[in-house]
Symmetry: none
Subunit: 222 residues, 2 copies
DNA sequence: CCTGTTCCTTAAAGGATGCTCAGGCAAAGC
DNA sequence: GCTTTGCCTGAGCATCCTTTAAGGAACAGG
């Protein structure tokens, strides 16, 4: 899962990046509105976190531009305490949620999870067939048996399960899981798909990941 | 276990901090409502102790704001003798318990323990497999054999056992056990995990603490 | 049937992370 | 003051994770 944080205070930016990466998110930082907007339009994020008070283009303007471009990504904005007007304007401008500074990191995480499961009514627990993936505890179950995965393996599986029934192209996978934005001729994806298939097979969840030749991969329920 | 004390009288604040630290809690102090609220929202505490009469934002307001932010931390408030109204309003505002000044330190401790075991129906005794940890007497048993731990070792084990079956990230451990809030590249955690594992091994409780590479540690029942 | 492309599989190098040990420092107890 | 005890740091080492590279298999088009 890939998140863009637009925040000018280096301390908070760092804090967010470190904390989120510990939760296995791929995090990009932008330090002003112009850069942030460019990045949000150019790349495909799963979530935006935008500070309302940033130099250059304001947070609210970033939000409007993003929506105007038809991008329906969840957007959480950070606002100063008691800035009631901000909140109203913000939600009006198309933000999905807001959080007041200072905030508890746990609360932010909770709100992020709410947004990310917008298209996934089952709650935090992601499932696909017998497979069950928990992004909070980073546990993966096949039926009742636990499957041990490394961080990268987990990120990849999580992304595929979150987008189950949809084709995940190679370039999207490399962007969302590896946070690589330029074209590269690496074969990491193949290798990790192979790792995953092996471990899933061994646990009795074989043949869940299907190859779409020339495009990418897909996980289907059945 | 990490506690925030919001108390403006330096004498009482000092008294609380020293006494609680003697009991192996990690204690932060705030001397007015505004600071206290910020700290409570920004960090993740296991318990709040709030004086009702503090400069700036009142204790009751702190309580309300904390609850409004969706933080479900136990909150004990300190009130003057016979302030019956305070008590009613306080519990209404979301406080978990109260204690009248002046109070016996032992009583406060007892109430703290009640709150901390809220999510732990078995009472004070924390367990994980053959392991049993008593936060009151600071005794650790493996089966029937006692394990001698230093204060830091104990705090770490207590935190892990309290959160058994959950992944404890490095940053949460360093916050709750060491009370360090900024990122640091120390390896204290590794060292103390090592100490614990050695002692637990020797007592016959080996392999209880599992490493989650890149994230932290976890204690599991089995 | 041949050929080029795409994907799978494996092995091995390099890097990152965690473990272990020795030692210094500070506080507490004698 | 001296010893003991507990706390923390830093470096070397071991282990695991990640990535690259290369050969072979499967596939699609001519």
């Amino acid at each position: 899962m890939r998140i863009l944080v637009i925040e000018d205070e280096p301390g908070i930016a760092r804090f967010l990046k470190d904390g989120l990466e510990e939760e296995y998110f791929a995090v990009d930082l932008a330090f002003d509105g112009k850069n942030g907007l460019d990045m949000a339009l150019l790349n495909e994020y799963d979530l935006l976190i935008v500070d309302w008070m940033i130099p250059g283009i304001s947070g609210i303007e970033v939000c409007r531009q993003v929506r105007k471009s038809g991008i329906d990504v969840p957007l959480i904005f950070l606002t100063a305490k008691d800035a009631l007007d901000d909140i109203v304007f913000g939600l009006d401008a198309g933000a999905s949620d807001y959080i007041r500074k200072p905030f508890a990191f746990e609360e932010l995480l909770a709100r992020i999870r709410v947004q990310l499961r917008r298209n996934n009514p089952a709650g935090d627990q992601l499932t696909a067939g017998r497979l069950s993936v928990n992004p909070v505890t980073h546990q993966v179950l096949c039926g009742t048996g636990e499957i041990m995965l490394t961080p990268k393996e987990f990120s990849l599986l999580e992304y595929l399960v979150r987008n189950k029934e949809k084709v995940c192209t190679r370039s999207r996978i490399i962007e969302h899981v590896w946070d690589i934005h330029f074209d590269s001729d690496t074969s990491v994806i193949d290798v990790y798909i192979n790792f995953l298939r092996k471990k899933l097979d061994q646990a009795g969840c074989g043949n869940i990941i299907q190859t779409i030749r020339g495009v990418g991969y897909i996980i289907r329920e059945s």
